[in-house]
């Protein structure tokens, strides 16, 4: 699946950021966004694999997809509230 299919509001390239930088970048984007907005976070940080889903579950947003890419992952997140 390509990211174009998600009609992204914003893509955040957090590759190269250390834990918990990618999560903090996502939280910042979600806070500034509107309900229904879809964000993509690119992260090579191993902590993101557990932290981003944990935060999304806690904050009650929606993890649309996680796409593994060579050396990083794309987290597709929808602001649900």
């Amino acid at each position: 699946m390509t990211t174009a299919e998600f009609a992204l509001t914003k893509s955040i390239d957090a590759r190269g950021m250390a834990c918990p930088g990618p999560l903090l970048a996502l939280i910042g984007a979600i806070r500034q966004g509107q309900i229904g907005d879809t964000f993509e976070v690119l992260s090579g940080d191993a902590g993101s694999r557990t932290d981003i889903p944990a935060w999304i579950a806690k904050a009650k947003h929606e993890l649309v997809d996680v796409i593994a890419e060579p050396g990083f992952a794309r987290f597709i997140v929808r602001k649900a509230r």
Binding site: G16, M17, A18, C19, P20, G21, L23, L24, I27, D51, A54, W55, K58, A59, K60
Partner: protein, 136 residues
Amino acid sequence: MIETEAPLSLILFSGTDDKLSAAAVLAVGAAAMGRPVNVFLQYYAVEAFRSDRIHADHGVALEASIAQAKQVAAYPGQHWSELLRQAKELGDVKIHACALSMEMFHLEKCDLDPIVDDVEGVAAFMTDASGPITFI
């Protein structure tokens, strides 16, 4: 907002950058997950929060080997003070300096970075820090 959870209470004693970074990561993670955070600065940690030297090189813990110290220095993460600033933006994060340590090092509230909310005594900290306390 995320519902309130059990607080994370940290006592920062060490003033080395590695320990302060580890503590800041814990604080920002807890704040992101909706947990209130109480930070109490004692001894060398208080000195590290001096506004005139918060960004100075505070070294690493004695247990770090020379090779590890180089790896810590080379790691691209954000400065611990910036992580704590973000933690305060994310949630209910209070940073207090121990009154006794302030007196010991002849410091006043105005000598500390504004990220420190206030100076307080240990009993006041214990009022906020219900539950387990982590000493770093």
